[in-house]
Amino acid sequence: MDLRYSEQQEILKKSAKDFLTKECPKAKVRELENDAKGYDPALWQKMGELGWLGFNIPEDYEGMGYSFEDLAMHIEEVGKNILPGPYISTVVNTFAIVEAGTEEQKKDLLPKISNGNCILTLAWLEENGLFDASGITLKATQKGNDYVLNGTKLFVDGAHVAHKMIVVARTKDGSGPDGITLFLVDAKAAGIKTEVIPTIALDHLCEVVFKDVTVPAKSVLGKVDKGWAILQMLIRKGSILKSAESFGGLQAVFEMTVAYAKERIQYDRPIGAFQALQHKMSDMWIALGTSKFLLYEAAWKESEGEPSAKEASMTKAYINETYKLITALGVKLHGGIGTSSDHDVPLYYRRAKAADTAYGSTDYHRELVAQLIGMK
């Protein structure tokens, strides 16, 4: 057992921090929230050059081939800073191509993703808001060598700027896991209409309407009717990486809050001298500490190829809540200034809510945990 960062991880964390501090200050974060695109294409290019978009792509496909654990450590730093745009979506969804793609799909897409020339998103959720298989109703009907997609997807991260979308569709009647197929679809294909949904984090989640969108059979990702297992893998990995981002965010708010409590003077002393505030900050510390190794354990298991479904769901369900708790306390301990849109803490507070439903809500993951700990 050795629960310390490796040297490589220390370096990764530092370089991510240095890069984002310089390239993505909070002024840019705010600017991008209200920008039509919601991300900075020049910054995306630089990230591609640095290898950030190819961390989890094998070297054979022009990626870096880093371990999942190293990727999680890197994303923790991304979350600490905040990076607007479909970065985590692209990285997570890349796993579907790496693990389930055909050689042709890999050769075509992985180098493009790695070099910053392909934004990849996932069209999963629908109007019913369900995270399980029964939520998938968008129809893909076979027509000769093609499939025709009809339906509406919601909360699709950056669909308006994406190049490729993984669309989760029904290819067989029913509501269970069987009969779900994933398609790799050009985001600008004829019949696709996207519209940005105004969300709490202003993070450009989209409504995507598919009207008679025709895709060739070779765009099926994995096997026909057997896409649910791939989606489960994305949910599992996405849960860990989204939690890593959240864990970075909650650390940032914790640090800002403690620093502010030391410098803000009221009643002739720093407000951090008052026990009412001290104990809340101690509770933040406890929530942070208990989140940390739960996340690292899940990331490590995933990295080692060990069964990690339980740990991933526990991590997501737990950190969903600690991120909200810590950011809410962060706002309150800052007082009036903490409620201002000019202040950094609310940036994180809003993102804590957004992160909460990405890759499955707390209740969804608790249900998975209940199954995995043996509740019949």
Partner: protein, 394 residues
């Protein structure tokens, strides 16, 4: 990162679990929860029996230096705490093995180490702590009991309180005001005494559930030998700090929770309500899953503390987090479990009890870890002052 135990540690863990599993079969029926060794003679006898079984294997001296009879590693100590917690076994004297032994190793004279460490390792003597007083709880500055030097002895007078297990303990360790004129933090002496010394009177304070865990200890002209001073005369405060500084992974409490979760999952699977298993109720599933996530969170942090201990690094702030979080989780579990049992949640260990009465037990016993060893509020102060660097209360 590497969360894996070495092959050697895996084998060791198996061995320790096996011994504990066997010991559990000999547990008396009246032994319901984690403080039961103090409640009656049967429990105390079981405590001593387990302690002797551990001592035989060298497990009460884990991680000590070899020259004082040490065996194994710090990680072995963690594994034993884990297994004891899981099987809810006593047998490791928290005061002697966990608190005093490392303090003696760090601050005791050669003579005192040679006299007491072997007796702690062999389970020959059990200790109690004579620390708090009626007006000195969290704040030791309010201490009034005195130790007046007379040649080779101290004459000790005063009253101590909340002394867990003092009614069974063989020896005590305490702090007393030894120099009324000296400044704060330089006026206390840390002394060991035989609990059979003349002038020592132990009186029980019944816990809220009626069990006998805590005591008051009255000291009337008790003669304590100066050779039993730990550290320097009048410098007992420094010893207190050494003792308080020995972080505990609290792995036993954490694994008590792990076991509680397993038992509760089984109970929900097997118990029908309105013709359906309790485990089919979405609210029950959600609550138990939430509990399971929290347990795994604190289990991983406790391992972080153990990992640091194992390489002789200090993780006091993480250890404080584990103490606060695990004890409050136990409180929460007592509430959830008694709620879900409906009218049976109130039943003590008896014919109508569910889960052997453990829910009712935890509902009350949870406050023992919450208020002892520095209340959770004091732990939060410690985190704020020493961990986060916030200004100390005057």
């Amino acid at each position: 990162m590497d969360f894996r135990l070495t092959e050697e540690q895996v084998a060791r863990r198996k061995e320790i679990y096996k011994v504990c599993e066997e010991l559990e079969k000999k547990k008396p029926k009246s032994y319901v929860g984690f403080e039961s060794q103090f409640d009656n003679q049967e429990g105390w006898d079981f405590h001593r029996y387990c302690a002797r079984e551990f001592a035989k294997r060298g497990w009460l001296a884990l991680g000590w230096p070899k020259e004082y009879g040490g065996t194994g590693t710090m990680m072995d100590k963690v594994l034993l705490a884990e297994a004891r917690g899981y099987y809810d076994l006593p047998g490791s004297d928290i005061f002697g093995v966990s608190m005093l032994a490392p303090t003696l190793l760090a601050a005791g004279s050669e003579e005192i180490k040679r006299e007491f460490l072997p007796k702690i390792a062999s389970a020959e003597i059990m200790f109690c702590e004579l620390w708090s007083e009626p007006n000195a709880g969290s704040d030791l500055a309010g201490m009034t009991s005195t130790a007046v030097r007379k040649g080779d002895e101290f004459i000790v007078n005063g009253q101590k309180t909340w002394n867990t297990g003092a009614h069974f303990a063989d020896w005590g360790f305490g702090v007393y005001k030894s120099d009324p004129t000296a400044k704060k933090h330089h006026n206390l002496t840390f002394i060991l005494n035989d609990m059979k010394d003349k002038g020592v009177t132990v009186k029980g304070i019944p816990y809220m559930n009626g069990s006998h865990v805590y005591n008051e200890v009255y000291l009337d002209d008790v003669h304590m030998s100066a050779k039993y001073i730990v550290g320097q005369e009048n410098e007992g405060w420094a010893v207190v700090n050494v003792l308080a500084g020995f972080e505990r992974s609290n792995m036993d409490m954490v694994y008590g929770l792990v076991k509680a979760q397993e038992e509760f999952v089984n109970f929900c699977n097997e118990t029908k309500r309105n013709g359906k298993p309790l485990s089919h109720d979405p609210m029950v599933r959600n609550k138990i899953a939430e509990f399971a996530c929290s347990i795994e969170a604190v289990r991983t942090l406790a391992y972080r503390v153990a990992d640091q201990q194992n390489r002789n690094e200090m993780g006091l702030m993480d250890a404080a987090s584990v103490k606060v979080f695990a004890s409050e989780l136990l409180e929460k579990f007592g509430q959830i479990a008694t709620d879900l049992l409906g009218p049976f949640g109130q039943v003590k260990h008896s014919k109508w009890a569910k889960l052997n009465g453990s829910a009712e037990y935890n509902y009350q016993a949870c406050f023992v870890p919450i208020v002892s060893m520095g209340t959770n509020e004091i732990q939060r102060n410690i985190i704020a002052w020493y961990g986060l660097g916030l200004p100390r209360m005057k």
